[in-house]
């Protein structure tokens, strides 16, 4: 499901079947990292959408959590924790953060939930077919993680 009014209708009718949420974490920066942060945005969005397409019925892809690269990470963590709390209260037992930003990898322990960190692959030079192939291949790897967690529970 996506955060769109159409999908929300379905969600409300079949809440008991949806127990997983993905929050993309997208950094924004206008400094020297402007290109990297844009690439991260492209890549994480593509990965998120493909995952959502395949697991539409059980997984909720939330709107991205955006922040400035220079922002204080303690505040960000606090905000993320309140997102997680909201989602858990809603019955979404599995919460994943999807990002390419290496800063999160360093603070993985503090996040409290599973971090899906995919090192960014710059997509702008590839043609559309190749892009799709790469994204499909990456998503397949992500599946292993998500499906395994499902089987455990």
């Amino acid at each position: 499901m996506k955060w769109s009014s159409g999908d929300i209708t379905v969600y409300q009718q079949s809440k008991e079947f949806v127990d997983t949420a993905i929050i993309p974490l997208l950094p924004v920066s206008f400094g020297s990292h402007i290109r990297t942060s844009a690439s991260m945005g492209d890549y994480v969005t593509l990965i998120g959408e493909e995952t959502e397409r395949q697991l539409h019925g059980r997984l909720f892809l939330l709107p991205p959590f955006t922040y400035l690269m220079e922002e204080d990470s303690e505040t960000l963590l606090l905000r993320l924790h309140s997102w997680v709390k909201e989602l858990k209260d809603e019955g979404l037992r599995h919460v994943y953060f999807l990002t390419s930003d290496p800063e999160w990898k360093k603070r993985e322990q503090e996040l409290g939930e599973t971090l899906l960190w995919m090192p960014v692959i710059p997509m702008e030079t590839m043609d559309a077919d190749y892009q799709e192939e790469i994204v499909k291949e990456q998503v397949k790897q992500l599946f292993q993680v998500i499906l395994h967690k499902w089987q455990e529970s």
Binding site: F17, Q54, L55, H56, G57
Partner: protein
């Protein structure tokens, strides 16, 4: 000239209103038509798309991707779709939609070790027979959609996925 119910003034008024009305309609109709044109054509049937060569299709369902142009009012985009295609016992080609009829996850062939040779949905454990029939006791309530298909010059063309009646 005994019964003159209409005066000259009235006659001219009627004629002018009539002619004016036609002219206004003549000008407005095309404008309205242009404005709503994409909406009128939304339901137009989707073209068949070449998916693969028939020789590549075997008895085991195989996944093929193809691109269709999706038109949504004014907005046109290319969407990738996939189909599970195989040859059944009678040699007919069957193309099934990979979208689970339960909540729309993407199904896969033969991935559940406990139930081989079935379509399996990883989300809620929905299962389907090879012909797409949903298996009772699993969440889906309808069989998988079947694509309109056509073979031309050794190539398989697929159209729209159509729903079937539940088992």
């Amino acid at each position: 000239m005994s019964k003159e119910d209409i005066s000259r003034r009235q006659f001219l008024n009627y004629t002018l209103t009539g002619v004016g009305g036609f002219m206004a309609a003549g000008m407005l109709m095309p404008m309205v038509r242009f404005a709503i044109d994409p909406i009128l054509e939304k339901g137009a049937s989707q073209d068949m798309v070449a998916v693969t060569e028939v020789s590549k299709i075997g008895k085991e369902p195989k996944r093929f991707n193809f691109k269709i142009k999706q038109k949504d009012g004014w907005y046109e985009s290319e969407v990738t779709q996939s189909a599970w295609v195989y040859k059944n016992g009678k040699g007919e080609l069957i193309a099934l939609s990979p979208v689970c009829k339960h909540l729309g996850c993407t199904i896969d062939w033969n991935t559940d070790p406990a139930h081989p040779n079935q379509f399996y949905c990883p989300c809620h454990g929905g299962r389907y027979e090879k012909d797409g029939t949903n298996i009772k006791g699993t969440p889906p309530l309808a069989p998988l959609d079947v694509y309109d298909s056509q073979v031309k010059d050794g190539k398989l063309y697929l159209g729209k996925a159509k729903p079937r009646k539940g088992a």
